[in-house]
Symmetry: C2
Subunit: 141 residues, 2 copies
């Protein structure tokens, strides 16, 4: 959300994640890369209500420092988050990132973007417009 | 937001867009492709409060059918939206798309994703996992 370390995500009572977020008030946002595409789709098409997703998809949990939710070792980045509000009217959960980890040793850094119809777009090349944008970026970015 | 034609965007009183959205209760989401990167950055680094962005960046306004806000001819897609709510506490504006246009005649279809630090990632290749996701997709997607 803007340049703050906050995230707005959409979910609702139809997802087990919603119950888990409401009860634990915390979570980890884990960012996978393209080599994990089949695990990503698998994780997204079953439910934590009846499945141990770490076991089923061969993922390795790592203990977090500020939240009980585990980080995922195989992911490029992990962000420990606290739920700071739930906007029930719109099924929006507001998260605040309180710690972030980035695995700079990984060779594959391309992430994937769900289109919503079962297809995904992989990161392509990067364009640098930092000079043009300098006036709009907060200090330190 | 989920599979509905709704969008949650983050903005606030520090942007002229916020005033415009609050007063007009409508807008157009225009989706540019990578060949428009310099116009995108230009549009994002000046303000509609004192600049005619269409004129300055050589963009062509097209009249919408349901909203007063103009569509952008040079964009790959345009979505006419109504503001259905503003969650002031979190500076979130909830939009509902009421009409969408897609220019299928354009050759360049790659969109760009702002990282937030002045760099942008261009769409790379597409992966198809529709079969794996079938059970989770709503009818008609």
């Amino acid at each position: 959300m803007d340049f703050s370390p906050k995230f707005a995500i959409t979910t609702g009572p139809w997802n087990y994640s919603y119950t888990a977020l409401r009860e634990s008030r915390e979570c980890v946002i884990a960012i996978p890369t393209v080599d994990l595409i089949n695990q990503v789709v698998g994780v997204g098409t079953c439910s934590g209500a009846d499945t141990d997703k770490f076991e089923k998809f061969g993922l390795t949990p790592i203990k977090g420092q500020h939240v009980m939710s585990p980080l995922i070792k195989e992911c490029l980045a992990n962000i420990e988050c606290k739920v700071i509000d739930i906007v029930k009217k719109h099924n929006i959960v507001i998260l605040e990132g309180i710690a972030a980890y980035y695995d700079s040793s990984r060779k594959e850094k391309r992430t994937i973007h769900a289109i919503g119809d079962g297809t995904f777009v992989v990161d392509g090349r990067k364009l640098d417009r930092r000079k043009m944008m300098q006036s709009k970026l907060p200090d330190g970015v």
